[in-house]
Symmetry: D2
Subunit: 282 residues, 4 copies
């Protein structure tokens, strides 16, 4: 390994006196340089993210050594290694704005990782991926074919070695068994300021309720629809003048930046999930 | 009447060709000067607000004449006269930030009208009103005394000739019969970005859901809790670092400006309500 | 002409009593339906935008007839016709985010008009235009060749019949004589919240000054650098954590939406310029 | 001292490998519990803030012991103790919105410290302070009396033992010698988004330039006018509709929250100043 191996240590545990001392003491000798360190405590729960270069350039030894500290404090933890080639799969239906934006950001190097596969239940957006040399898979889904489609999707994602799956306006609900079998995080963009307007047609719902602010929510996908841990949200002001088409247009601009931020933070190992909520060290 | 009588004509009706022509033609001769004119059409519904000085300084004649135009187009309409002395009543429980802010804005002349009465179900905030020379009424409410309390409240509001009632963090639900008997608009500030987190304890709910943006909503009060037409909303970003106390503090700053805007727009006759939604000409 | 000819009447003049009456009376008979009407008065200056379908479908007759009203009130005015094919030229140097975003929005039909030509002083972005079938011209500029380059640019823009020129991070200053000869509006995106950080390197300047908010400004180009009428601005919060590279990234997201809004409003004839400032009826 | 002595350690120094290890190692034994810890590195400069309860409850011993670590790394550092009674002086001229808001926040316990003195060059706002039991000093300033006035002001601030001076729309420029003699931080609220519209009349300047966003800036006062380190900024959108009076009103709402945030962060020892810029750990 090179002289500049960078690692990211992520820790979640019950907060109690002595924990920072123990971790600090442990890290003091092993880290050549701390690039970034953030911690958070709710009083009850403790969260830590340290990005550092290693003194002895051996992440495996660090991992083995840290296990003892972790056990003493009953920590949930992982040691992540930045990977500019981490494969990311993007699922999309017919709205292309989030897909186009993510592919552009991967291309620009804004996101740590690479777009390794695009899957859609419609064939329409094939050229958006293929023109950039990214494999595109059309996997149609009907009520009848859903189990088969999910099996095909699972195979495709495994084959691509996807470490993150991004639902970039993918209009199909993924089943619990599929999510369990997949075993990697799934990020979704919902086109409302959750928990307001969960479910379908949020912009139509927003018009009907007469809200003055609309929003978008990027969240991890869990079995329960639109209820997973929220990673990022943002909003835009609207008035009575806006039609549903205007909300769709304004919403596109909010959705794509909210999703892009969530994907970026996830790929940089900045998001910790605990009890259905996130701690985002950005 | 003086040579500068200002009126505000507010119109809602079904949109159809010819309506602007008819109104424009009518007004052309009668208005000495248009100060402000805004219209909005949803395609289906038409909304108009004109603020103007009268050519002949007789609002009653204008009112009588306009009735014919209004009848032809089946308009819902009113002719409002600005009134710097319009009595406004403020209801409050124990949180004082909205009350203090509104009283200060009335004092500064930011709001068209005057704080004529403060009512609370607790005695705590009496001095906030009385130190400014504004009458304060303590009307306690328990489940048992609620009907009596509402009767007393109704009498107090009528006696003060309140043209608008503002619930500035008033923690009691007003009954349908009370609202009907009252017969003047009631504005409420809800400490969440409705329809998210309706009901009680919205900041606690926000923490539990892990949202990244909190908000406040000013809306007209209807019989159905937290479901009246929204006049204004605004938001503030939060992170995992914020405790419920932090949200309360950040929320106070959002609540008071959102409520103040809604009260200002209402008092300047800028808010039209149609089918449970508002058109705000600001 | 079809039965649904839509026109946009734009008026600027000195405000005085009677002007709205005169215009309203004139329009009342000629407009079949008012789609949108907005006016603004500073007390001193009067601004009007009416979008309407014509009763007799003859914009030329309306134009001729309105001239008399306009003369009586010494109006600056124009009658614009929506044109989904209005040619727009985009000038760019090496940063592609605004170009890519604008081309995508034209493709999606978000902007009224079409990207008719892309010109750059560098060859790098040719494929961004050509892959969409849009002509790309590489016109290099050095201090020595600037007059020739501007002549070539002028010819290219005229040949494309460009009705609007958008500087989408074009890093050359256009000379006064060029702007005069061109005779069509030029919109620029400046990557700061003007008038803060005019000139070059605004993000570096922002870091050095330690600001907590950065922004972008879309403005019409005049002879004086970064001093033309502002059409739109927006901002993003930053902290001490952001490096210049972070500001560049965050700034890209702000720049592209600010420029896109300005282009959209301009193409929909929503922007009126008076005394170096804009009135934007959106 | 009680068993829960809380301290805040603030460090600025040149960044170099080993610094976090050294500090962590030192603190590990001495801190009973880390409440909050944040660090920041620009690559070149290193910043640290740790809030913690002491293991042995003796801040003086910690201070003495840490001096050795600090010397080894050539640190600029201080050990601050939270003080709910820290005396704060507020200087004001005639605009009362920031003063009223700050006094209310001190009263509510939102700010760590107490309003110990209000000084004004006008007598108008005496009752705002005195009605809350806070001493008010009227110290008029004319060009001729300025040196005397500053001497009187200095005496008053020293007498009140002011640890922070807040200029809450104080319209006098404080001289360099005065600032040097004072020797405590001075926070100012400037009613524009600096560096745009420095100097006087920023809202008038904003109208003239036709900006679409206005702002406010809280900064430490240095000898050079409006050029001190920025602590906080925020903005509000405006349109062509807003008059100077509207900007004043909208600006008041922005100014008071921006100043309140800066004062809060300062009093909680969250602001570090280095090379004319701030690091704000909030």
């Amino acid at each position: 390994m090179s002289a500049a191996t960078t690692v990211r240590l992520l820790v979640i545990c019950r907060d109690r006196p002595g924990i920072v001392s123990a971790v600090s003491g442990f890290l003091a000798d092993r880290f050549a340089n701390i690039v970034d360190a953030e911690q958070h405590s709710t009083g009850d729960r403790f969260f830590l993210r340290v990005e550092a270069t290693l003194a002895d350039d051996d992440p495996e030894r660090l991992r083995a050594d840290f296990a003892a500290v972790a056990a003493a404090f009953d920590m949930e933890w992982r040691l992540a290694l930045p990977d500019a080639d981490k494969p990311v799969a993007i699922l999309v239906s017919r709205y292309e704005h989030c897909l186009v934006d993510l592919l552009w950001r991967f291309e620009q190097g804004e996101l740590e990782g690479r777009a390794a596969l695009v899957v859609s239940n419609h064939p329409d957006l094939a050229s958006r991926a293929e023109s950039l040399g990214i494999p595109f898979r059309h996997i149609p889904v009907t009520r009848a074919t859903k189990p088969d489609a999910e099996r095909e999707l699972l195979d495709a994602l495994r084959e691509a070695d996807a470490q993150l799956v991004v639902l970039a306006r993918y209009m199909q609900i993924l089943s619990g068994p599929f999510l369990s079998a997949l075993g990697v995080p799934v990020l979704n963009i919902h086109h409302s300021f959750l928990p307001a307007f969960a479910g379908s047609g949020p912009y139509q719902q927003a018009i009907e309720r007469g809200v003055k602010v609309i929003g978008a929510t990027a969240h991890y996908v869990t079995e329960e629809l639109d209820d997973g841990p929220i990673v990022e949200q943002d909003v835009a002001r609207v008035t009575h003048r806006e039609t549903v088409d205007d909300l769709l247009r304004i919403g596109r601009d909010v959705e794509r930046v909210v999703l892009a931020r969530a994907v970026r933070w996830h790929l940089e190992d900045r998001v910790l999930v605990d009890a259905g909520r996130t701690v985002v060290f950005h």
